[in-house]
Amino acid sequence: MSAAVRTRIFSPDTTDRVASLLLWASAIATVLILLSIIGTIVYRGIGVIDISFLLDSPRMSGAEGGIFPAIVGTLCLVAVAILTAGPVGVGAAVYLTEYAPDNGVTHMITFGVECLAGIPSIVIGLFGYAFLVVYLGFGFSILSGGLALMFMILPWTVRASEEAIKTVSGDLKEGSVALGATKWQTIRQVVLPSALPGITTGVILGTGKAIGETAVIMYTAGSSLLLPESIFEPVRALPYHLYILASEGISDDMAYGSAAVLLGMVLLINFTAVTIQRYYQARSGLRH
């Protein structure tokens, strides 16, 4: 009898139970890690954030005052990055999905996109410094930083747009071509509108990546805390500002506030992207 009980204890049932428990535990641990990060930043940062924190310029290297120029700097950099990476990325995706013949050049392009996605951001930053800042003479500026960011997010916009374009049904394209539409007319008027939600989601997610990126812009955008007057002037992006505040021990409070604002911006953007995606998925789901 007791032998029977003993075998039961070590029967697969128990292992199964223990394994389940461990798997639950790993999932819970992951969620807890996430909550502790977001919780800490929000909890400590929210008290710092008020109108003057958002709209004032920093004083005493950022130990007092606000972070307005850094927010403006970030928005300028991201605007340049998206306005360049968006069209180029969508164009590349249209070429790769609709035009590209199956040959060496096309393989090289796909390979190039993959390579670019794999290059560490600090290497892109170094390149941006050598090429944009020094060689092209753009100096530390919004233009240099924005373009360097563009190099970083380009592969993501290409991929997201490709995915979106590939989901457009061939029936629609045939319908358009059979009416005598040219290839470009078909793409412009049928394919791109249908792929737009997916493309938008991809580009917005790219924005999220660009907003939080630091290593790429440290040596391209500069670190000026003055409000820029043109894209040829330097700015200090919010993540870089946070890095300086934290690593130089300037002010914990200001750092928490900056971190919370940065986190808020990124999460808001990602939330928007995901919501757009879900909305359109749900809508197209109804149709079938």
Binding site: D171, E174, S176, A178, L179, G180, A181, T182, V190
Partner: protein, 254 residues
């Protein structure tokens, strides 16, 4: 039949998808303002054949063609043929209704717009005429700005026909236009085809014998990429020459 009545004619048409031959030496004359039906078991090359006529097969990678398809006496595969003009003159309606995700109005206006018609009044007119010709005006005339995708399957298919009519083609190719529709919608489209044939040359692929018998003047029977028999529909259905045609028509094929 006199040669001057032949609008389209395929001559010794062969087609390969990669290394697989899908059409073998197909020659068919198609008369003007008549309905020609293509019948045959699944996979025998009916769709492939009609897609040769408006060169939709150009879109398929690895597709190779020999032989000729004459349209008004000229080979559509000649180098200097403008496929855009060709497709404008030879319209096509697909098996599955494929309206664009736009309003009903924009669907119909799509063709005229890409071909350069911009004036609102002109477009309004084309939209109304096309919808009337496709027997859809009574149902959608008041809801032109509604999404086309909200229509029923049968309405969508008539919308696709109207969309094709809007570019004023000479020929319309129908690839199993009713296979996704209920019997009532099917009957309406058959009626429509009977009216349209006064103004257009029509080629229709169908799996439905009765439909071929009801709507067509001529019928071609395909089997495994070959055109087995071609003739007056009445003759094909009542006195087929070939044994395989008879077997198919009497339902002894899968």
């Amino acid at each position: 039949m006199g040669t001057e009545d032949i609008e389209i004619e395929s001559r010794n048409l062969n087609l390969w998808y990669g290394s697989a031959q899908a059409l073998k030496d197909v020659s068919i004359p198609i008369e003007k303002n008549r309905v020609t039906a293509l019948i045959g078991p699944s996979g025998c090359g009916k769709s492939t054949f009609i897609r040769c006529i408006n060169r939709m097969n150009d879109l398929i990678k690895g597709c190779r063609i020999t032989g000729k398809v004459l349209f008004e006496g000229r080979d559509v595969y000649e180098k200097d043929v403008d496929v855009v003009v060709l497709r404008k003159r030879i319209g096509m309606v697909f098996q599955k209704p494929n309206p664009f995700p736009m309003s009903i109005y924009d669907n119909i206006a799509y063709g005229p717009r890409i071909h350069g018609t911009q004036a609102k009044r002109e477009l309004d007119e084309v939209v109304e005429d096309s919808l009337k010709a496709a027997a859809l005006w009574d149902e959608v005339g008041g809801i032109l700005d509604k999404p086309a995708l909200d229509l029923s399957g049968g309405q969508q298919q008539r919308l696709c026909i109207a969309r094709t009519l809007a570019v004023k083609p000479d020929v319309i190719l129908f690839d199993e236009p009713c296979s996704a529709l209920d019997p009532i919608s099917t009957a309406r489209i058959e009626d429509l085809i009977n009216v349209l044939k006064h103004d257009y040359t029509i080629i229709i692929v169908t799996h439905n014998m009765q439909q071929a018998a009801r709507v067509s003047d001529h019928t071609a029977f395909f089997l495994l990429g070959e055109m087995i028999e071609f003739g007056e529909t009445k003759q094909i259905f009542e006195r087929p020459v070939e044994k395989s045609t008879e077997n198919y028509i009497t339902g002894r094929f899968g």
